[in-house]
């Protein structure tokens, strides 16, 4: 009998909290993940409408392709199905995190783990990590990065709005710092899962 241990499943749910203390100087909201959700690791159909979804899919696909060791599984198709339960901002980053965890859960060999972090820049230049939808709409620029856990290199970047080079470096540094928390969370949740079975 497999004991199903879930860490709190709140992918993208509204928490009502502005910032959650994950560490000094980091203002990511509360996040959690549920593993072994589907009995079959492979997904099936995908419903997509509009160019925004197609664009997001392409970004996630290219990030996964860069990380997954496809040469170990020739003539194989790996389908990742992402279902948005609720969108409270930073959707692309959340999708990236979910995709990475799903690939780990499926046992797909990867050369590194990756995580998504979103930064929003206000009109006066304040940097906000993991913004809510309202903040994203009001922000001057919204930047989403995908970083790997080996050397914190930039795997994927998707930006909206106008920003300067210095602001980009600032956001990248903040995202790299925040990614540490996300990777620590990955490690903790995986340890918790595998220590029980």
């Amino acid at each position: 009998m497999e004991e199903e241990r879930h860490t709190e499943a709140k992918i993208g749910a509204e928490t009502g909290r502005g910032s959650s203390p994950r560490g000094p100087g980091c203002s990511l909201r509360h996040f959690a993940c549920e593993q072994n959700l589907l009995s079959r690791p492979d997904g099936s159909a995908s419903f997509l409408q509009g160019v925004a979804e197609k664009n997001r899919e392409r970004l996630i696909r290219n990030t996964c392709e860069a990380v997954v060791l496809g040469t170990l599984h020739p003539r194989t198709s790996i389908t990742v199905v992402l279902q948005v339960v609720s969108d409270a901002g930073s959707l692309l980053a959340c999708c990236l995190n979910a995709a990475c965890m799903a690939l780990v859960d499926a046992g797909v060999p990867m050369r590194a783990l990756f995580c998504g972090v979103t930064c929003a820049l206000d009109s006066d230049g304040t940097l906000v990590l993991d913004p809510t939808s309202k903040r994203e709409k009001e922000a001057r620029a919204v930047l989403t990065f995908a970083l790997d856990n080996v050397e914190r290199k930039l795997l994927m970047s998707s930006t909206k709005g106008l920003f300067s080079d210095a602001e980009l470096q600032q956001c990248l540094a903040a995202a790299q710092a925040a990614s540490q928390h996300v990777f620590r969370f990955y490690r903790e949740s995986l340890q918790r899962r595998y220590s029980k079975s």
Binding site: V51, K54, N55, R58, L59, R61, N62, T63, C64, E65, A66, L143, A146, L147, D148, E151, K153, L154, L155, M156, S157, S158, T159, K160, G161, L162, F163, S164, D165, L168, Q169, L172, A173
Partner: protein
């Protein structure tokens, strides 16, 4: 035939045969191991077409070639050729922004430009390019949409920007951005007045004015090889062999409108900085070229 002439003819044939065989060897190696062939050049810090790693192909631009369009430009980046035509039409402004007009870009990659594209609905690459151009227009505020409004809530201009690729040899995004910028600089809109009595729009084709272009976004594309090397302005073959791509769109104040990196190998912050500085120099080159071309057009 005399013995001497026969010997010379045989020697000439021998030389030609050896030269052909050497060329065939390189071509054979290139077909069988394209990545290895390419790495040999990269080791010497150059590329098969003789360029340096940070060198762009020859850029040529031709403005105003399509007389039936309100603005047009043809850009050639090496072999890659993109033509942009802008048509202005009337439309009702959007209900949530009654004082704004529209700019609608569309990138078309027809089968004419490369054998990889089929006829039919736009493929993924064309959709990606169209979305990219739409993002650049939106983020860089190249045109203030309020300038396109004629009568708030009733009438506004809509600029249909059609970008068609005539020859695909890599780096389509840079060429499209440049073509769009050049075409928009060439657009002349006639003066429109709303007749108070009939409430109809009257177009005065004799009085035309240029658009107010506020910023000049210029795109610089890079390809990543083997997770380490960055080369600028990849050709079609280089794009195929690359492990990742990066496109930076910068305006004249050094502000970034778009940092487009759709997956692929990772980049460190230091490498990004190198790309930024290359993008700044590229912006200066393109701006200089644009100014020369604009100056050379005879005013109508």
């Amino acid at each position: 035939m005399s013995k001497v002439r026969w010997r010379n003819r045989r020697a000439g044939e021998e030389r030609r045969r050896r030269r052909r065989a050497g060329g065939k060897m390189a071509a054979g190696f290139k077909t069988v191991e394209p990545l290895e062939y390419y790495r040999r050049f990269l080791k010497e810090n150059c590329r098969p077409d003789g360029r340096e790693l940070g060198e762009f192909r020859t850029t040529t631009v031709n403005i105003g070639s399509i007389s039936t369009a309100d603005g047009s430009a043809l850009v050639k980046l090496g072999n890659t050729t993109v033509i942009c035509g802008v048509k202005a039409e009337f439309a009702a402004p959007p209900t949530d922004a009654p004082d704004k007009g529209y700019v609608v870009p569309n990138v078309d990659l027809p089968p004419l430009c490369s054998s990889r594209f089929r006829s039919g609905p736009p493929g993924e690459e064309a959709q990606v390019a169209s979305q990219f151009i739409a993002d650049v227009i939106e983020n860089s505020q190249i045109i203030q949409k309020e300038d396109l409004c004629i009568s708030p809530g009733k009438l506004a201009w809509v600029l249909y920007c059609d970008l068609i690729c005539l020859d695909y040899d890599g780096n389509i995004l840079d060429a499209c951005t440049f073509a769009l910028l050049a075409a928009l600089k060439n657009v002349q809109l006639p003066e429109v007045t709303i007749n108070g009595e009939t409430a109809l729009a009257e177009v005065n084709l004799k009085k035309k004015s240029y658009l107010n272009i506020r910023t000049h976004p210029v795109a610089t594309s890079f390809a990543v090889f083997d997770d380490t090397l960055l080369i600028v302005d990849p050709t079609g073959e280089e794009e195929h062999l690359a492990t990742g791509t990066l496109t930076i769109v910068m305006d004249e104040e050094g502000k970034l409108c778009c940092l487009h990196k759709p997956g692929g190998s990772g980049l460190t912050g230091a490498k990004l900085q190198d790309c930024m500085s290359r993008a700044v120099t590229r912006h200066k080159e393109v701006k200089k070229l644009m100014d020369e071309v604009i100056k050379s057009i005879k005013p109508k």
